[in-house]
Amino acid sequence: MQQRQAPYPQIEHTDPSGQTRKDFVSDQEVRWCPGCGDYSILAQVQRVMPDLGIPKEKLVFVSGIGCSSRFPYYMNTYGIHSIHGRAPAIATGIKSTSPDLSVWVITGDGDGLSIGGNHFLHVMRRNVALKLLMFNNQIYGLTKGQYSPTSPIGKRAKSTPMGSVDYPVDPVHVALGANATFVARTLDVNVKHIQAILKRAEAHRGTAFVEIYQNCNIFNDGAFAQLTDKETKAASLIEIEHGKPLRFGKDGDKGIVFDGVKPQVVDVAHVGEEALYVHDETSELSALVISRMKAPEFPTPIGVFRAVDRPSYDAMLQDQVERASAGNETRVQDLLDEGAWTIE
């Protein structure tokens, strides 16, 4: 049977929306620790919202449990602060019921990858048209400082006084492994970059996964300092962009070439820009190889690893319902009457 291309759900965009940042700020006092990276992320989301052109009543933010999961309280939209790890499942129910809503899941490394790992995997495999923002601070903040599934091995935390013996998992790898159609990474303090990535995520027509490196200045301060400090960031961070060669370093003096599927750091002056690998968001190989580049051998990539088009779960479900119910005249009474006989 031929696979029918499902129509994508229409989220209405009005441009300009007439909304401002203030429209998205709720009346609740924001209660993260002073200096927490969550503040910046919240500010960028609120700043980007008016540009998206979606009326705020069409927006739903769903979170689980953790510091990041307080997020929905601060957005003057619809929102659910749910239970630990389950936000993707709740969001799936919302989106499947009302495909015209723009549904955003806010999760963290513990919420999304530990207790909610199962749902994280399945929401992306199904390609439910949700935005999934994972604030990764490599620690449990709300419960006051235990190592998380993204903490590096050897991490000393309250529950691991001698250092953790758990190998970490990389959220981007999990997302790619689950065949997510949009996979990106950004940084809490990189204001412009977050905004650009959020806009890309919003425009994506399937699950849009965005990992946001977020500093927890109380329990894991400086986890990403290498990527944010003036002195080190140029050499440690690489911004990847579709159709652009992989360049980083001071004034872009360094680059990445692929030797088969093996990336290598090179001096651009030495090899020439044409030799550099050009990132292709639609290429699985590109996403896989680039996402595997790890410090200290490689700079840490941020940007969109993968963006491909595939019909979303909610759209196909809606399409089945619409096709099945077109011209339907069956009523429940007809079903009750099936196989009936009459006793006089």
């Binding site: 709720s26 609740q28 009326p55 705020k56 009543e57 069409k58 927006l59 739903v60 769903v62 449990i65 929905p72 309280y73 957005m75 003057n76 939209t77 619809y78 929102g79 659910i80 602060h81 749910s82 239970i83 389950r86 993707p88 499942a89 709740i90 969001a91 799936t92 129910g93 919302i94 989106k95 499947s96 019921t97 009302s98 015209d100 809503l101 199962n118 749902h119 995997l121 399945h122 479900l317 089945q320 319902v321 096709r323 099945a324 119910s325 339907n328 069956t330 009523r331 429940v332 009474q333 079903l335 009750l336 009457d337 099936e338 196989g339 009936a340 006989w341 009459t342 006793i343 006089e344």
Partner: protein, 609 residues
Amino acid sequence: MSKAVETVETVAIRFAGDSGDGMQLTGTQFTDTTALAGNDLATFPDFPAEIRAPAGTLAGVSGFQINFSSEAVFTPGDAPDVLVAMNPAALKANLPDLKQGGMLILNSEAFTAKNLTRAGYDGDPRDNGSLKNYRTFQADITGMTLKAIEDMKLGTRTAVRSKNFFALGLVYWLYNRDMQHSIDWIKGKFGDTDVGEANLRALKAGYNFGETAELFDHNYEVKQAVIEPGRYRNISGNEALGLGFLAAAELSGLDLFLGSYPITPASDILHFLARFKNLGVKTFQAEDEIAAVCGALGASYAGALAITTTSGPGLALKAEAVGLALMLELPMVIVNVQRAGPSTGMPTKTEQADLMQAMYGRNGESPVPIVAARSPGDAFYAAIEASRIAVTHMTPVLLLSDGFVATSAEPWRIPDMASLPPIDVSFRTEQEGFAAYLRDERLARPWALPGTPGLEHRVGGLEKENLTGNISYDPDNHELMCKLRAERVERIADDLAPTEIGGQQSGDLLLVGWGGTYGPMRSAVAQMNERGHKVGHVHLRHINPFPKDFGEILRRFDRVLVPELNLGQLVQLIRSRYLVDAKSYPKIKGQPFKEAEVIEAIKAQLEAH
């Protein structure tokens, strides 16, 4: 020449064979035909464990019992009058239940040395006198089936498969049944195929064998029962639940959303509802039980009639999300088709041991209304009632069914949809004066759907301030909210109809039950009343809250006896709530009550004082 016909009032037949022998199909075919013939009836399919056991072993025996009568019938019958055993294992597993003097029909060909050993027989039970208390008829069912289709040159395996239709044909003759329904069914199901032809021939061969063979000198007839006029159909509990939810969706004007994860014996509800996308039904087969209930909760938030279906172990997993639903005060129906526990227990066997789980199986003070279905047909109304409470009181509701209700079938008088009261639902759109936890006279908060301009609000699992819904750690507010959530459930009782009492309205003993034990309890009370005992019967539809008049009814009787398929759960709720000396009659064998057991329990109570 036709043989003589003897008229009998009530007959219980059990078909038993290997799980590959098609006994469930044989049973349902006989059931449909019997219902069409105008008898009242009740059935009980008894499945082996889910994974098919080796052929011919006791573990692989599958049974189907039907009790039919020219009088009213409420149970599948305590002990069968007729046992059809397709192999030695089926005989061994079921003979202890057969009535003394009952009729035993054996598939003689299957009584090979190998099969006897597999069934654990030392010798052949047919030769050692162990069957002397029964009227035993042997027929080479397999052999005669093969003979009937030998010219079709089908493989033996295919041919042997048709032997259940031979058995069906034989029993049709024995009870003077018209084969037309099954003939039509085979034609409809298999069309013009070899399998269809083989089944038809086997069916007719079985019938003709009864008619012509010397084995039986006469056959039987069960006259039509006096049944209330109307339109009828056969219905199983799982099917009725599915139809009930479809009806609730139509009555409320809401779209139905089911989040579910496969689990025995609830999966059939998912299969059933998945067929009705044409009615706007969305079914979500989730990655686990938790995602299933969370998906439903999300759907409810977005304005669907949201349900999730499971069995006991699944309910354990859903507990946290049910707690969230009650905190968010969002409507949802959680169906637990109970099976024998604890843990994985005996998935294909029935039990009622999840009542306390339904009542208390969540953290914190977390009251949830509980509705129970008492019979297959009743499950339809239970589903509507649970849905009605959920959406009008803005609360998750637990609907308890059980393996017996789910899989057994009965003729059911079809209701007229137009006669069922509509379910009033309104979504909040008015911005003026809106607050997320404003309350109406039922203490229900407004259902304000995302997408509604001006009603943007946040809800969550943290304790919330009454009315505004903002996060609150205020001590007095928390106590107020806990009491409000309890009161919200209690107020459901305001809308309930007076409790129906079966049998005597006051007197020596009140039998109190819930769920799938209705049939044997009702029959037992009728028997006791006939013998002049002042016994009444209340079968609770609502367990949380209890009906308002229940306490007063309990006090109209000298004794209260609570039979349950558990170690005594409802009885504890009654004792603690009403301070009456209710006695428990527990049974926990994975099997329904027999009428005789309930009668004995009543007698024992009456004599104890």
